[in-house]
Amino acid sequence: MKKKLWSMSFNSATLVLIPAAIGINYLGKLFAGLLKLPLWLDSIGTCIAAVLAGPIVGAICGAANNIIYGLTMDPISTIYALTNIGIGIAVGILAHKGFMKNIKGAILTGLVVGVVAVIISTPLNIIFWGGTTGNIWGDALYAWCASQGMPVWISSGLDELVVDVPDKLAVVLIVFAIMKGLPKNLVSLFHSDEEIENLDHTDELK
């Protein structure tokens, strides 16, 4: 993987990856809901895009994902684009550093991404919702912390943490499994800065 980490040149394959990734996010969320799983699983696509095409594309996926949710299902989710941008960047960087190559690295990535999500989401939760998340377990913890007189950022942070860290860990492990199964030649499509090698002997003499 010799792709430049912060490359801003996007080839067509990379651009087409973005809507596919957003679709995958949506399906993850849909199925987690249908199977009544206690997780969101709505960032699988963003993480796949970040692993395949780097942090910038991951960030774009995250942002576009929430803007489109905002325009179609839940306007408030638009603001959480910030969280998904953070997730995309974190996964992109860690994958580039080789963390997604083995299961240990993937678990570590999942934990880091979970913490990143908590750090970004908590202030947003406090500004827009007064600190709760709408998740029953998280909010129960919030209520308990609040009744113990803990400051709002701790209660809210813990509320987000108990939901986000397991969720992101599951997401990254799913992404890890999917990456293992992808054909190798597909992966090279998303590297925009590769050069064309010359097979003409006449040109070599020049």
């Binding site: 394959a13 190798k184 030649n185 590769e194 050069e195 064309i196 090698e197 010359n198 097979l199 003409d200």
Partner: protein
């Protein structure tokens, strides 16, 4: 005047060691209908994509030799400029729907909008393309609601509207049901004789024999033969390349019936009829 010239074309996909195209040279005249045959992974799609400039400009990898259309060297022209010279239709019609347009009419406009074609000209070209592909009646339908055959004809219309000199159809019917296949072949037949050079990759040898002026037989990235369908399908070693000759040729081979002036076996129903009639006077030979 040859319109399409391929000179010593070699190509390796990134991260592979095998030459997907190994020193291919051939030339094609304007308006010819060329069939490309060979087993899976023999280099048919790679050859198509090299003519369309997608190899090497989309895939990168290692490249040698030249593909020239008139005097344009495709490697040196970005794909987005080349698409007004060479048009490509792919296997899966579903993947060719842009997903950004609400009607068939708008869908066909996609390429023209990108190329900056003025609106009046755009409307003229779309109407003409829809007529040619016989999809005018689906004008206001939602692209994803079409059947496979209709969708594939819409994809061809989108490519034809760009007015290319060469159009490549890479297994355009392999994902379709029998009815969809027939629809697409009828559309392809209509395209013949429009003065466009057509290159068709197809597993149905009857169709290849029916339409092609010449056929390129590929195996393991090398060009085994490039000749008339009669010559190609009369080869005794055909099965070695994973190709089964058209049923008329097989009958000809079994019955040892050849066309008099070329010594080849018949490849189409018409030819088979002629040969049989000649052999048996006015009555078919078996009477």
């Amino acid at each position: 005047m040859a319109s399409l010239n391929i000179e010593h074309l070699k190509y390796k996909y990134p991260g592979t060691d095998r030459l997907a195209l190994n020193d291919i040279s051939l030339s094609i005249e304007t308006g010819e209908f060329i069939g490309i045959i060979g087993r899976n992974e023999s280099g048919k799609s790679s050859l198509c994509q090299a003519i369309a400039g997608l190899i090497p400009n989309f895939y990168k990898g290692a490249y040698g030799g030249k593909v020239l259309i008139d005097d344009i060297e495709v490697k040196k022209v970005p794909v987005d400029e080349l698409c007004e010279t060479v048009g490509t239709v792919f296997q899966n019609p579903f993947n060719q729907v842009t997903g950004a347009k609400a009607t068939v009419y708008e869908e066909i406009a996609f390429g023209l909008e990108n190329m900056g074609v003025p609106k009046e000209e755009m409307i003229r070209r779309i109407d003409r393309a829809m007529e040619l592909l016989d999809i005018s009646k689906y004008r206001d339908r939602y692209p994803f609601d079409l059947s496979g055959g209709q969708m594939q004809r819409m994809a061809i219309a989108g490519v034809i509207a760009m007015h290319p000199q060469v159009i490549i159809l890479d297994e355009p019917t392999s994902q379709l049901d029998p009815q969809g296949r027939e629809e697409v072949f009828q559309a392809v037949q209509k395209l013949c004789g429009q003065g466009i050079t057509i290159i068709l990759v197809e597993h149905n040898m009857e169709k290849i024999a029916q339409y092609s002026n010449r056929v390129a037989l590929l195996d393991a990235g090398t060009l085994i033969d490039f000749d008339t369908p009669q010559k190609i399908f009369s080869r005794v070693d055909l099965e070695q390349y994973g190709v089964e000759a058209p049923v008329y040729t097989q009958i000809g081979k079994r019955l040892n019936l050849t066309i008099e002036d070329t010594g080849c076996y018949p490849v189409t129903l018409e030819e088979a009829k002629t040969v049989l009639l000649r052999k048996g006077g006015n009555d078919p030979v078996w009477l």
